[in-house]
């Protein structure tokens, strides 16, 4: 465990020193300013607009980690042979993968926490400016649930970045594969729902249906982690449902990381 924490620590430090926090803090200030400004244009729905805007910013902030930092930190590690500095020590490849994943989700947690805090400040400023009566629907629990699930979806995506970085040596290809995974993950739920509804005059071929079924089980359903709408409408997810979605995310990460470890064990780091 000590070795995993050592890799987590060095990944986290390297990520932070890339000055991402400056970018995140500037973004947080923008979010606070624009959320308050824009929501004023939608009387009665001020709370919903602020929350929707801020939670979207939290998601986007989190997504920057798998798309830019994770590929950069992991793929370049292998490409530029920085990995030798780690694996020359008594650290196994499994510990390296788990450490990298841990460091990246910790970075995502910091980024999303800063943006979440700025979101709460926006809500507070909104209350002061527009009056507390527009914020009676606001629930901190629903907001927290939405942020936690958003972080979990980022963790799932980071686990998949780790898989793609183990499969390919190209950072560009890893980014592209992650993008495809994200698009499939966000849309697969809608596609399955569309196919399950019989539409007059529209015939779906059996091959398409089977392909969608296979894709559904291979790729993560990222849409289930999206609780922005619920938070904006003060809908608190029951504990059982929240735990089930959480377990789904955790299980998906475990499966993806196991696959990454299997691939990485056999890979030549020449």
């Amino acid at each position: 465990m000590n070795n995993i924490f050592a890799v987590i620590s060095i990944t986290f430090k390297e990520g932070l020193r890339q000055r991402i926090l400056y970018g995140v803090i500037i973004s947080a200030l923008f979010v606070m300013f624009f959320a308050v400004l824009f929501s004023g244009w939608f009387m009665r729905d001020i709370s919903k607009i602020i929350l929707d805007f801020c939670l979207s910013a939290v998601s986007v902030g989190g997504l920057l980690i798998p798309f830019f930092l994770a590929v950069n930190l992991l793929s370049k590690d292998i490409e530029r042979k920085t990995i030798y500095a780690i694996l020359a020590k008594p650290i196994s490849r499994t510990q390296y993968i788990l450490g990298k994943f841990g460091g990246l989700i910790a970075l995502a947690a910091v980024v999303m926490s800063i943006l979440s805090a700025s979101s709460l400040v926006s809500v507070w400023i909104g209350k002061l400016l527009y009056g507390a009566r527009f914020f009676t629907d606001f629930s901190l629990l629903a907001f927290t649930q939405a942020v936690l699930m958003s972080w979990l979806s980022v963790a799932v995506l980071i686990a998949l970045v780790v898989v793609w970085c183990c499969v390919t040596t190209s950072a560009f290809l890893a980014t592209l594969l992650t993008l495809f995974t994200y698009i499939i993950g966000q849309t697969i739920d809608d596609v399955v729902r569309f196919l399950s509804v019989d539409t007059v005059g529209v015939e779906i071929s059996a091959t398409v249906e089977k392909t969608v079924q296979v894709v559904k089980y291979i790729f993560p359903n990222l849409a289930v982690f999206d609780l922005k709408l619920q938070a904006a409408h003060n809908v608190i997810l029951p504990f059982g449902e929240f735990t089930t979605i959480g377990m789904y995310g955790v299980c998906y990460c475990i499966v993806a990381l196991s696959l990454a470890v299997l691939i990485f064990q056999k890979r030549d780091l020449a």
Partner: protein, 261 residues
Amino acid sequence: MYTNFMKETVITYDQVFKTYKADIRIKKKALTGLHFQVQKGEVFGVVGPNGAGKSTALKILMGFVRADKGNIDLNGQSPTNPASHKFVGFLPENPCLYEHLTIIDHLKFCARVNGYSSQESVQKIQNLIDLVDLSHSATIPIRRFSKGMTQRAALACALFHEPEILILDEPMSGLDPLGRQLVIEIIREYNKKGHTILFCSHILTDVERMCDRIGIMCNGKLASIIKPEELAQNVYSQTTNGEKKTPLESFFLKTVEEQSL
């Protein structure tokens, strides 16, 4: 220094083969039956032309690359076992460290994975930074380092846990004469403590000065092993087109030519 009495083998390559896929259709044979042993306490230098398989041999020894065939033994353990790295320090060719971190961050990482407490590591880190002459740059990120400084920082990381075996891939590349002299002195001092050193280099004069035995690699295998004193005894010195060559240079060229035939 190495003597004939020291016969304990710490590194063994036993008929090791490795082929890389250079392309979908093209395969490149990197090692074609590499076979040699390194004894405890000796400095073994491997020289060879570009593409001879020197770096591949070291990467296999570190477990970064898997051999297709053959046995490799590193201090009685398989190189793929991370526990074997407890006794080994490795300096890769053109070392690449984490650009945004400092040498102190890297050495703290080494301390942590080698089980040193933070109190123990403070003095050790300072000593190592002084040893590689980087005390003036200890708080500067690695990205601001020159190639030679990065090389010395990586050497400090390799030496942190005082490994029994030091494996160096082109340790002198990118170093100015002062840097080269510093690294040579560090390696010599390290060897005096009884530690084993295996290294690859293109700089034949350094190899000749430092090694107890020199292996010449060609076409993926060791073509010849010679001791520096044997070089001195035999007249390998020759002059080509008026250019005088050192005994090792002459022996190296002769061996490579013979292998190419």
